[in-house]
Symmetry: C2
Amino acid sequence: MSRLVVIGGGGAGTGAATIAIQTDRSMKVSLLTEFEDIAYSPCGIPYVFGKEIDSFDGLFLQPAEFYQEMGIDLRTSTVVDGIDMGKRVVRTTTGEEFPFDQLIICTGWEYEVPKVPNVDLNGIVYIKNIRRAMEINKRLDEVKKAVVWQAKPLGVELIEALPHRGIETHLVDSGSWLLSDFADADMMEPLQQHLVDELGVKLHFGTELLGFEGQDGKLTTVRTSGGDIEADMAFLVANMKPATRLAKSIGVKTGSTGAIVVDNHMRTNVDGVFAAGACVETMHGLLKIPVNLIPGTYAYTQGRMAGANAAGGDEAYRPVYVPWGLGAKIQVGGALVSENLAKATGMPYVVGKATGITAARYHPSHEKMQVKLLFDPSNRQIIGGQFTGGDGVKERADFLAFAIRKGTSAEELATMENVYSPPIGALGEPIAAAAKNALTQLGPR
Amino acid sequence: MSRLVVIGGGGAGTGAATIAIQTDRSMKVSLLTEFEDIAYSPCGIPYVFGKEIDSFDGLFLQPAEFYQEMGIDLRTSTVVDGIDMGKRVVRTTTGEEFPFDQLIICTGWEYEVPKVPNVDLNGIVYIKNIRRAMEINKRLDEVKKAVVWQAKPLGVELIEALPHRGIETHLVDSGSWLLSDFADADMMEPLQQHLVDELGVKLHFGTELLGFEGQDGKLTTVRTSGGDIEADMAFLVANMKPATRLAKSIGVKTGSTGAIVVDNHMRTNVDGVFAAGACVETMHGLLKIPVNLIPGTYAYTQGRMAGANAAGGDEAYRPVYVPWGLGAKIQVGGALVSENLAKATGMPYVVGKATGITAARYHPSHEKMQVKLLFDPSNRQIIGGQFTGGDGVKERADFLAFAIRKGTSAEELATMENVYSPPIGALGEPIAAAAKNALTQLGPR
């Protein structure tokens, strides 16, 4: 009987354990997680804070029994202390040993705590574990002023959520606009205006976090390069780094991103050891460089692939193109490259822009849809883009990532066909309009 | 000075005249339409009936002055009587003559009036001209019972609209489900249930229209193979045929669909005569047969192309894949081929189906999304599909048509990436799930 140990109970770990036992029913599968819970969606947390979602209950996707009934030896609140590759056992902090033939490392990511004074004050919080999030949620009714540090996706979700609790919300970020890692200033402008004008959020861009001050161990002030901000609570959306300590301890190689290097079967360089999810790096299909992916959809898919292969399967992962998107009333999304990234890296590009609508202009459901597309002038192919609109951003970002993957020319996008139906689609598709705009700059073939 | 005459003031004609004069400012462009108005959207009419759109005002896209100021010699209420190719003039019923060097025929489509008794009774109406629609709209407040004949897109829009006016609404159709020309029964089921359960529509499928009865010249009864239906008004969504009388009179060739044959520059077989819009036939990219397209988005694009080429341009139209979609609370859409069509024509296919959600399952905005995809088992490529959902059908239908055009395999769709963000996108994309389902039947490569 083959023995598989999976370390980590997030999307990658649960996916790996589940598919492994489904692939090989005779396998003994142990799934170890340091947390009290299994299979919950941390992505939903900001929406509970904003009362868009009623309660945390729905965020628990499966109870522990679900995995146990499947025949998985699930261990919650179980912290792995070390891996003995000689004996091929995983040892926990309580001294328990889990022998394995195959091992899948799904240790995910952790926050890089900023190196600033007084970062341990009561009221300085991180969003990750759902139990901690439940405690934060209870405290939110007493919070009057909050600071969110860094305009990453979770930061944007938080500044959209907190005003709905009546909290004066500040964003502090050293960049110059929201999501500046992968979005452009012009495309974020409508969302920023919405946050400021409708929700009263104070945006402090180009501003460094310097530290915190408190009284009786409790946060009172966030110190920034732009001055002090009074706050009862500070949400640190810190940089994330892959959690690779355990993997490195057994000689697993990490790459340029700091994450674990795996082949397209999710195998590490150590025999019988797989890895998946936010702790590994994945090849970007367009940029041809490894990237370290955080979104749960990748963790889950990679975990399932590692599980299948660990159980004797032969499934190959492929390079990624990573559509992204978020928002509610104003949605934003897209896929790399952004104009900002192209500029920063000296990548040649031509931009096509258009503002369209999502339904007939005489239908009350119509909303504005701004599109910006980037093309490679050498082969006229799409290399990235962004959308800002009221609705339909997610589907367009998926389309865009797929078009990049398929090697699509500006001519092909300019002639894409679209549904025309007054309540759901306008005469012209804004993507096609943006591509036509790019054609005027690309010139004739 | 080159003289261009455009016959027809719909999407194709207005597009043709506009782009021609923009391409060659020295051209004398005359635009003749038999109707009182120019540039309005008939597609919006059912939504005014249903009071989803406030008034007809918004449906007028441009006033006549817009075209006149552009320098176009626009003639409304002008019926063309004949074309003299010897003198190269278009003659109107009032005897006026319009000389031309180039001619663009955009005569659109007309209804085939069903050959049944008493089809001329007061209360039997067609939806096409906006002025007639305004008169119908005024009468709707007095209508208690209405019959809509044929479950084509306009018919479906009407049966969704009329119940909102408190009208008992019946649908009569000889097919067995809604939109049976291009949709499958299983995918239309949720929309049919919504119409019956929520809106109280009576669906009479497999039912032939036999005729009408009236009193004092006014409709009282619709006679069908399933029995008589009392009605104050009957909407005849009759079959549409291309309006080709004028074209044929000058030797323009029509094809297998009955519509005008044009090359990829919208040129007919007669020198200097172009045609565009619902009166021409267009090559279907997948089926490799000519189709006669009605949607306005094609008319407009083709018209613009004919106008550019008539003014000396060199623009090539391409085969089409025709995404379709409609609906409000329940949306349906897709692209040919349907399973029904594949069966009827003996085309080999494999089906992949999935039911997914449009947002995280714990987010209140999530709605069901059913996906059905058809693949060619010989090359594993996508050949059609349909979507039934609450939202995002239009964007997915556009995506599908593009994927068919790009020659996309089931493997590629099964591994498509998707945005995961609780309010706008679920962990998995239903398109990918349906493709995975198809892979289980396609078997290994």
